[in-house]
Each structure stands twice: as C-alpha cells, then as structure tokens.
Symmetry: C2
C-alpha cells in the first residue's frame, strides 16, 4: 500500500488519464467526457475493424476506407484469405515504427496474396470535398489546416486532404515506386509523429486498442530496426475482421464523434489546461496531441 | 542471407538512418553529414554528462545548465552523493514518459538527499537574450518561434525561451506546487512530444544514447503507467557523472554544433527530402522531427 501511495505522489505531472481536480466552472477533459451524451458515441463498424491476435494480447485496428478505399478493400481481401495467419512482426525501430507481414515476402517462399491485388494505385491523399472536417485553431508545421474527420487526424491544403502520421496510425509499406504498396506489409507509428511521411505513403487506419503491445517491443538491431535474427520476429497468430470473430471475442469499442459538441469542448479543454497541476494553461494544441476518446 | 535481403526490401520507407540514394546535385542528410568538418563537432562536457547504468546497458544524458542551472547543480549534487545508486525506474506510460528515482521517496524510508537541496525554484523558462539560436523557418503549434540552442530543441516567444518536450528530453518531476521539483525524480519523453508540458515543468537535459533501453520497457499497469507491483520496477545500478567514470567506460560522444553551416544544411535537407523514396518532398519541418546528429 505504501508503494502505491508513493507512486501516486511521485506522479508529478498531470495527464488526460489521470485524476484531475477540475474547477467547478471550467470544463476539463474528464468533466467533458463525463457529460457527453450516448448519441455522441459511435460503435466501430465490425466490417471495417481488424483484430490482430498476438501471443501477448489483442490489437484492434480501425480502417479508413474514406481515405484509402482500394488499400482497405485489399487488406480485407488479404485478411479474409488468412494472409496474416502465422505471420510476423519483423521490424521495431525506435521512435519510428513497428512493421509486420510475411517475413518471407521477398523470397520464393512468399505466401500467396489469394484474392487480393498485387498492385494498387497510391492513395496518398483525396479530395477535401465531402468530408466533415472539425478544424483545430492552432498553426501546424506541415499543412495549412489540420483537424479531424470521422475521428481520424487529417490535414488539408487547397482541395486535398490526407490522413496524418500521428502516433498509432497504420500505413501500407511501400518500396520506391509510389504504387508499390498493396497492404500486405503494414506499419504503425510508435514514436514522435513522422509527419514528413504524410502524402508519401498510403495511410489505411489506426490502432484503437493494444498500442502498448506494439510500442514496447524490443527494438530490432538490424538496419532500419528490422529484427536481425528471424528468431526475434514476433508471431502474429492471426488478423481477422472483427465481424468474423466469435461474438464473445468481438471488440465492443465506441469512439467519440469528432463532429460532436463534446469533441469541440474537449479540444478547448485540451488547449486551455485548467487542471490544478498546470501553471501555464498552454492555450494551444497540436494535432497529434489531441487523442480521440475511445471507450 | 535471404532474410536480410527480404528485410531490406521490406523496409518500404526511407529514414534518416537508412541507406539513401542522393541525387548528385542535391544535398541529403547523409551527404551533409559526410561533408561536415571536424570543427563542427563538439565533445560532450563530462562534467555536464550523466551515465545511467542499467542491467541492460548504458544511457547517456546531457544536462542543460544554461536553461536549468539550479536543477542541474542539484542533480549533480545528488549524483555525487550516490543518490541514484540502486534506485529504480518506477513508471513507463505508453506514448508519454519513463520516470525514475527513489521508489520509497514518499515513505519514511526515503533515502537522504545528502548535500542536495530539497526545494528549488521552478526553472520553466529563461531570458532569450544571450542564447545562440538557430531558428527553424516553419510554423510551430506552440510557440512564436522554435529552433536550436547548443543542440537542444528550444522555443521562444517575446523575451523568454525554454526547452521543449521532444522525444528523449529529460525533465524534473514535480507535484502541484510549481517549485516542488528538486531533480530527485526524473522523467524522459518516450512518445509523441507532449509540448503542453513546456513551461509547466523544469526540463534539465536529454538522452543522447540509450533511448531504446528506456522507450521499450514494458508499460506499467498502475495509474499513470507506474509499475503496479514493486517487483516490476527496473533497477538502476547507478548514475554517475561521465567525468567520474573510469577512463575506459567514459562515453566519447560528439554532437554536431547547431550553429554550424552543416546543421543549417541539414535542416534544409530534412525540410526538402530528395531521397529517391520521397514522392512529395515535404518542404516543411517540425521541431521535434529534427534530430541532432550525435556520433
């Protein structure tokens, strides 16, 4: 018991998930969430949600067909063909990415893509038209405007919009040709957001549960953080569509709608920090520091 | 061998540390570094460098007395008094921080601070005057201007300047009172940079070697990522000043001067990505995506 007390006292700085001491009049992130209404939350679509089963637990990935329709369709075809069953995490590069797929993809023993396409066009960005965009008010280093679409962090400039490389975002690895990704090798951002990758690679979704299972993997000692010894590859039991999981194992996650009043209040609560710990209330917010609430 | 080839082919996106294919006329990060001159590199000051010895290896921390003189002096006093010998890493919170100190700090069994002060004034920012500031040209979400001072990422606004919470930066944990840190509990940023902590807590330096030993620790399952069970605390054998390490074990690191021509060229090479992999050359750079070269 003493240690737990000691640990709490040692906490030493505030965090969204921490116990907060809200002033009665100024909303904080926790007070906004507590007051959100049920209709502001949306269930994940099990036809657009992946469950990646590792030996250590489950990772849940929400796909983004509104930004990468061809890649998402291809990933679903791969998943339905059990492409990722008994595949591996092959790379863990510090402050960058974790990557997975068929460890023998480039050898004669590469597994079949089944019904999936081997070649797809790049889907680096899309028309900004037709998106419900909740803008953040502060400047961004990489784009004219940033904000959220369907809960995803998005940048837009001129008439184009694209998913951004924030922590937890998932993309489709490619080689030098722009159209060399097909979704059979995927990566997730595990460090400071490498926004220079935006518009250079197809982002397909993001992890909504299980990031610590990926981000805390030992770093690979080979070039680019690949595991130098195949024995270090981390087994992936399978990747299924959530809709194909047995009912008892299906993830039941809800995300806060990014076009809801509560999300707007949450942005303001995160811009102006009124928890007792904060001396300087900040007054600004960078895109990748605005986490989407998931429950 | 096949696996290594497979792995390289699977790399699928470029990175500063990766093999690059520079155009003969446009500088890339690797070509700039290859052409830097010896006098552009500076040795770490062993009187301002800490060596943290874990069972898994060594972490090297450069202190920043130009920003937090009182905290740095106190940390050095603690280190000289062996305060951190047989201490522990007590916290690993995903996408946030790893924190260490005396796990019994808040109990009656707390270790003595020795010659160090128990109480210090906050050192959240300082006068911008007197700093050699290499500015980045692109907008920042949190400050009027950002750039580098002595290789450290720094923000400035009006007449004040402060160290920013980029990946690998080290700060002094505090409780709610602004002046409640004394350097006996330290943290390092292990996720996306929590810039909202800037000017809210005293930043004292940064890790220059060994980040993967800290960032890949299992995440704590207690509140705020503290290890719920003391058995999960990670032992720290000692923290010494580099100057107190035996000659054979003393780190011999050099950092590129952030006021050098090569650093300016490196900023431009990182802003405009000319490696073959890049389709969109980016043309922008955010502070925490500009790593300081260390060799």
């Amino acid at each position: 018991m003493r240690l737990l007390v000691a640990s709490i006292c040692l906490a030493l700085f505030g965090n969204a998930s921490a116990a907060e001491t809200p002033s009665p009049t100024v909303p904080t992130m926790s007070s906004v969430l507590a007051e959100s209404s049920p209709e502001e939350w949306i269930d994940l679509d099990p036809e657009r949600t992946l469950v990646m089963q590792l030996e250590t637990g489950r990772v849940v990935i929400e796909l983004a067909p509104q930004f990468a329709p061809k890649h998402v369709a291809n990933i679903i075809a791969l998943v339905k063909g059990s492409y990722f069953s008994n595949s591996s995490i092959v790379r863990s590069q510090d402050n960058y990415v974790v990557q997975w797929g068929d460890p023998k993809a480039d050898s004669k023993d590469a597994r079949s893509l089944g019904e999936a396409q081997a070649k797809l066009p790049a889907e680096f960005d899309r028309a900004a038209d037709g998106l419900t965009f909740t803008a953040l008010p502060d400047p961004d280093s990489y784009a004219a405007q940033v904000g959220f679409v369907d809960g995803f962090p998005v940048a837009r400039e001129g008439e184009r919009a694209w998913l951004t490389h924030c922590y937890g975002m998932v993309g489709a690895g490619r080689d030098n040709p722009a159209d060399s990704s097909n979704g059979s090798s995927l990566y997730v951002v595990t460090g400071h957001s490498p926004r220079h990758l935006d518009r250079n690679i197809t982002v397909v979704g993001r992890v909504l549960e299980g990031m610590p299972l990926l981000s805390s993997l030992p770093r690979g000692t080979g070039p680019l953080g690949f595991f130098a010894d195949p024995a270090q590859n981390v087994p992936i039991k399978y990747i299924h569509l959530a809709s194909h999981e047995p009912d008892a194992k299906r993830p039941r996650l809800q995300k806060l709608r990014s076009d809801s009043d509560s999300f707007l209040k949450l942005i303001e609560a995160r811009r102006s920090r009124h928890e007792e710990w904060f001396v300087h209330p900040v007054g600004r917010l960078e895109l990748c520091n605005m986490a989407l609430p998931v429950r």
